[in-house]
């Protein structure tokens, strides 16, 4: 007997992932940020409710909501540049009075997925790609000037993957990606270029930017096979890894839970990612498939880039670990994405049950 609300295939691994990461966040916040883990728990609960609500919604509604959401995102992105709060030299947050702060660039990721899924719902065409490119260029550029290179890259990645899935020619796509990468040296700001150089040679600035990279790898490496035990990682518990409750949360997993714990986490991510890809493959229509794929790509890109950065395989760009890094907006957006996939999954349930339960004309192809 299936419940209307509970989707065990998606919800069980997701719940495992979220709790695993929350425990690590709790451990990371013991040095100097005690209490922040509670706030994060609140956001997770809020996000979970949001997910359940969105999964009860007909995802075809997103086609009509896409442009209003796009408008709101653009307004918010402009607002952040005008009245935004600056943290570490980048304007990324808007104060929402008593509600705390809000990060519009997180919303932009979701808006990108919804818009592209809507545009390519009827299949790929060059005209639609042109519209999509023009539409996404807006938020992309606004985010790039914040500056938030990481999120801009996320949006570029989402576009590439979703366009490819919709049917874009592979050769053309790789040519564009190649061009984009070769433009890097010309568009990067000086501090971004420095980050790249430091990534290539961390010892160059081992007391400054390289410190972060060296400390991060040292913490993870020192965890060994078994780890030092939860709440017992010396570097984690005593502030030797800066930002380990935000972008560098993975160092806590590495140091305290060791190789086995880190592999366990990777496995959880892989299961959730697999479920999302499978949902895309089983979606009743192209729009549903693209929505699920977009959310899957969002999760994958964040996970891979974030962990790569902590283990020294990628330069430091501000990309949080999904469901883990401290930050309310990111948690809400990620869980909202899961809710959208949930609605796609509901629509793709075996017909005999769906029919008796929730007849949906659009799913009859």
């Amino acid at each position: 007997m299936k419940s209307r609300w509970f989707d065990p295939v998606l919800h069980i691994p997701l719940a495992g992932l979220v709790s695993f990461l929350w425990i690590c966040l709790y451990s990371a916040t013991q040095f100097g940020q005690a209490g922040e883990a509670g706030k994060q728990a609140f956001h997770i609960v809020l996000g979970w409710v949001l997910m359940l609500l969105l999964s009860r919604m007909d995802y075809h509604l997103w086609k009509r909501l896409a442009w209003p959401i796009y408008g709101v995102t653009m307004l918010a992105l402009v607002a952040v540049l005008v009245v935004g709060t600056s943290v570490n030299g980048a304007k990324r947050w808007v104060a929402l009075g008593g509600l705390g702060t809000f990060q519009p660039s997180e919303l932009a990721k979701l808006a990108t997925i919804v818009i592209l899924a809507g545009l390519f719902a009827e299949g790929f065409s060059w005209k639609r790609l042109g519209v999509a490119a023009l539409a996404v260029a807006g938020p992309f550029l606004l985010i790039l000037v914040q500056p938030d290179l990481g999120t801009a890259l996320v949006i570029a990645f989402l576009c590439s993957v979703m366009a490819y899935a919709a049917g874009l020619n592979g050769t053309f796509l790789f040519a564009v990606i190649g061009l984009g990468i070769s433009a890097f040296p010309f568009v990067l700001k000086e501090y971004q270029r420095d980050r790249l150089l430091v990534f290539i040679n961390p010892d160059m600035d081992s007391a400054g930017m390289g410190y972060q990279l060296v400390q991060s790898q040292t913490a993870i490496g020192s965890g060994g096979l078994w780890g030092k035990g939860l709440l017992s990682g010396h570097m984690t518990q005593h502030g030797f890894v800066p930002e380990n409750w935000t972008d560098f949360l993975f160092t806590v997993v590495g140091e305290e839970l060791g190789f086995l714990g880190a592999c366990g986490l990777l496995l959880l991510y892989a299961v959730v990612f697999g479920v999302l890809i499978r949902s895309a493959m089983q979606a009743p229509d192209r729009m549903g498939s693209l929505l699920a794929l977009g959310v899957a790509s969002l999760l994958l890109f964040h996970t891979v880039v974030n962990i790569s950065m902590t283990v020294g395989l990628a330069p430091v760009v501000g990309i949080p670990l999904p469901f883990g890094s401290y930050g309310g907006t990111a948690v809400l957006v990620n869980l909202a994405g899961m809710g959208i996939v949930g609605s796609v999954r509901r629509a793709s349930r075996p017909r005999e049950i769906v029919l008796s339960d929730d007849p949906n004309p659009d799913s009859k192809n």
Partner: protein, 605 residues
């Protein structure tokens, strides 16, 4: 989709496989970091967070002969700064300067001269009142901290020249001692016994492994090797006697200050005549050692340097003066042994010898050898010295231990000055005249001795010719009970026959019974002594050319146990009048019958 767009499904499958491949690559990287290189990273993480810190050893205590504590240790808080960890130094320095009561420039110069990573002690012994203010500063400025430590605690205000003090090791001291386990930031004895016995008192540092957090705060620590506390130093000093010596010397100096309008200093030595064990050793004025052990402020140190009483000068063993007539002990011994006179010889004093006047300018008339000591007739000794010549006189001086350090266990001892014709030629580009010999034979002129050297000379006369080595330390007792006694040098022998020394002693006894030293006559013991009054010409430190005065003595006369030497500089008086009464107070204390119980339990300090 369900009924199949093959191309779309295959593209999704590619993306899915690509994602899983990326996650697998991460897993491989983790295997490399955590399993293959895990040990190396673990070591690096420890380097990051583990430091081996020395565990300070408690410093040994200093106690007197009765086991009364003179110097111990107290817990204390000290303010330290690690220059490299100080973030906003521009703001921190004025705040520190306010707290320390120093100029910002001074604090800045200290910080810039210090090793960047080693905690620099800015102030030891923070008082409770300062502690609150200091805590505020440490909370505001990273790199500044309060640390617990130990500070020397003085249980007595006496004998500061002997006890000395400890202070932070200087770069120069460290350079020569690094191989012996000293390190930057260590305390080291700077003066006195603290310096002399530093290696025994300091013990051996232990080591502990300390996990620190990113701010350098200790998280956990475990001991690798315990520290060995320093040995306790027991002295021959008798603090009750020391108190008597300092009190009576201090009273006399206070009277002189009032009378002369100029500050004088003085010294008292009380030593066992047979062994050289020091029972009391006073040098006044003295200083308070406590500011030194907490780190003296420039202002405080300048005040000590500017003090006209020169409280930093140790007048017992580090300074030398003309011995005056007390030197007649040596001239007399030499003359008797050399056959220039006999114990029963008589002389005639007409008040002068050549151009040199007698101490009693009217002359002593006909006078016997012993009375020449008792009444301190200069003319007799002018004649004897003149007849014997400078070389012979010098030989006896050297035999009595003049011209070289006595070997007392205190650092920085003077050797005095034993002049010779060659020395005079070199220093003064002038020949040695007979007049120089005549002057020297009554202890005037070039010859310089320390009060401690005079105590050794007096002891040699008193004990029958043994030149003892004065000794402050009685024993060193380690925490495990092991006792070390200081090595005692075999005393030198004065080449003077016992009966001649007995004649000198008779003369000295006469000085106390009916001569210049009657003020030292104690009702409790037979004292023998010799006065000395040194005539001075006006000089920078003695603008009015006031007399130095001496009284050297021993008791009991028949079988001497103690030697007592009293010296007063710039006193404008006579040895018999000013110095002898102080010696009498010492002997009264030593030989007076026990007092009624209520006043018998005198405490020190």
């Amino acid at each position: 989709m369900v009924d199949g767009n093959r191309e779309a499904r295959s593209r999704l499958r590619q993306i899915g496989l690509g994602g899983l491949l990326a996650l697998t690559v991460l897993g491989a990287r983790l295997y490399q970091l955590q399993v293959v290189e895990g040990a190396e990273f673990s070591r690096r993480a420890d380097n990051n967070t583990v430091v081996t810190e020395p565990v300070p050893a408690p410093r040994g205590r200093i106690l007197d002969r009765a086991g009364r504590l003179l110097v111990g240790n107290s817990p204390q808080f000290e303010l330290v700064a690690v220059p490299a960890e100080m973030k906003n130094r521009k703001e921190a320095v004025p705040a520190l300067a306010r707290l320390l009561g120093e100029k910002p420039a001074e604090v800045e110069s200290k910080l810039s001269k210090a090793a960047p990573l080693v905690p620099l002690v800015l102030r030891r012994g923070l008082r409770d009142a300062d502690l609150t203010a200091a805590t505020e500063v440490t909370e505001k400025f990273p790199g500044v901290a309060i640390r617990a430590g130990a500070i020397r605690r003085y249980r007595t205000r006496l004998a500061s020249h002997l006890l000395g003090y400890v202070g932070e090791i200087t770069a120069e001291e460290l350079r020569v001692r690094r191989s012996r386990g000293y390190a930057l930031g260590d305390s080291i004895g700077k003066v006195g016994l603290e310096k002399q016995y530093d290696e025994a008192l300091r013990g051996h540092k232990g080591a502990s492994q300390v996990h620190v957090d990113v701010l350098g705060r200790t998280v956990t620590s475990h001991e690798l090797r315990p520290s060995t506390p320093g040995a306790d130093l027991y002295l021959n000093l008798d603090m009750d006697l020391q108190a008597v010596a300092e009190t009576s010397l201090g009273e006399t100096l206070a009277e002189l200050w009032e009378k002369n309008g100029e500050r004088s200093g003085g010294a008292v030595v009380v030593m066992e005549a047979q062994t050289g064990d020091i029972r009391a050793l006073a040098s006044l004025p003295q200083y308070d050692p406590r500011p030194f052990s907490r780190g003296i402020r420039t202002r405080e140190y300048q005040a000590l340097l500017d003090d006209r009483g020169f409280p930093l000068v140790n007048r017992i063993s580090d300074s030398s003066f003309s011995p005056g007539s007390t030197f007649k002990m040596i001239t007399a011994s030499a003359a008797l042994e050399g056959g220039y006179c006999q114990p029963y010889s008589t002389f005639y004093c007409g008040g002068s010898f050549g151009e040199a006047n007698c101490f009693v300018t009217s002359g002593h008339g006909t006078i016997g050898f012993e009375d020449s000591m008792a009444h301190s007739c200069d003319v007799v000794y002018y004649q004897l010295g003149h007849r014997m010549g400078v070389d012979k006189l010098r030989r006896y001086c050297a035999a009595f231990g003049l011209g070289r350090p006595t070997g007392i266990d205190l650092p920085g001892e003077t050797e005095g000055l034993l002049p010779s014709p060659a020395w005079k030629q070199k220093e003064w580009q002038d020949q040695w005249y007979d007049g120089d010999t005549v002057n020297m034979s009554i202890g005037q002129g070039f010859l310089l001795v320390s009060p401690l050297q005079m105590a050794v000379v007096t002891a040699a006369v008193a004990n029958g010719g043994s030149v003892v080595e004065p000794r402050l330390a009685r024993k060193l007792v380690e925490r495990n009970g092991a006792v070390t006694k200081p090595a005692i040098a075999k005393p030198g022998k004065v080449p003077v026959k016992p009966e001649f020394l007995a004649a000198v002693r008779r003369g000295m006894r006469g000085a106390v019974t009916h001569g210049t030293g009657v003020a030292a006559d104690s009702p409790y013991v037979q004292v023998a002594g010799k006065t000395g009054t040194v005539e001075n010409s006006p000089s920078v430190h003695n603008r009015h050319g006031r007399n130095h005065v001496w009284f050297v003595s021993f008791a009991p006369y028949e079988k001497p146990d103690y030697v007592c030497v009293v010296f007063l500089e710039k006193s404008h008086g006579y040895g018999g009048g000013l110095a002898a009464p102080i010696a009498r107070k010492v002997y009264d204390h030593l030989y007076a019958p026990p007092k009624p119980p209520e006043s018998a339990k005198d405490s020190i300090g």
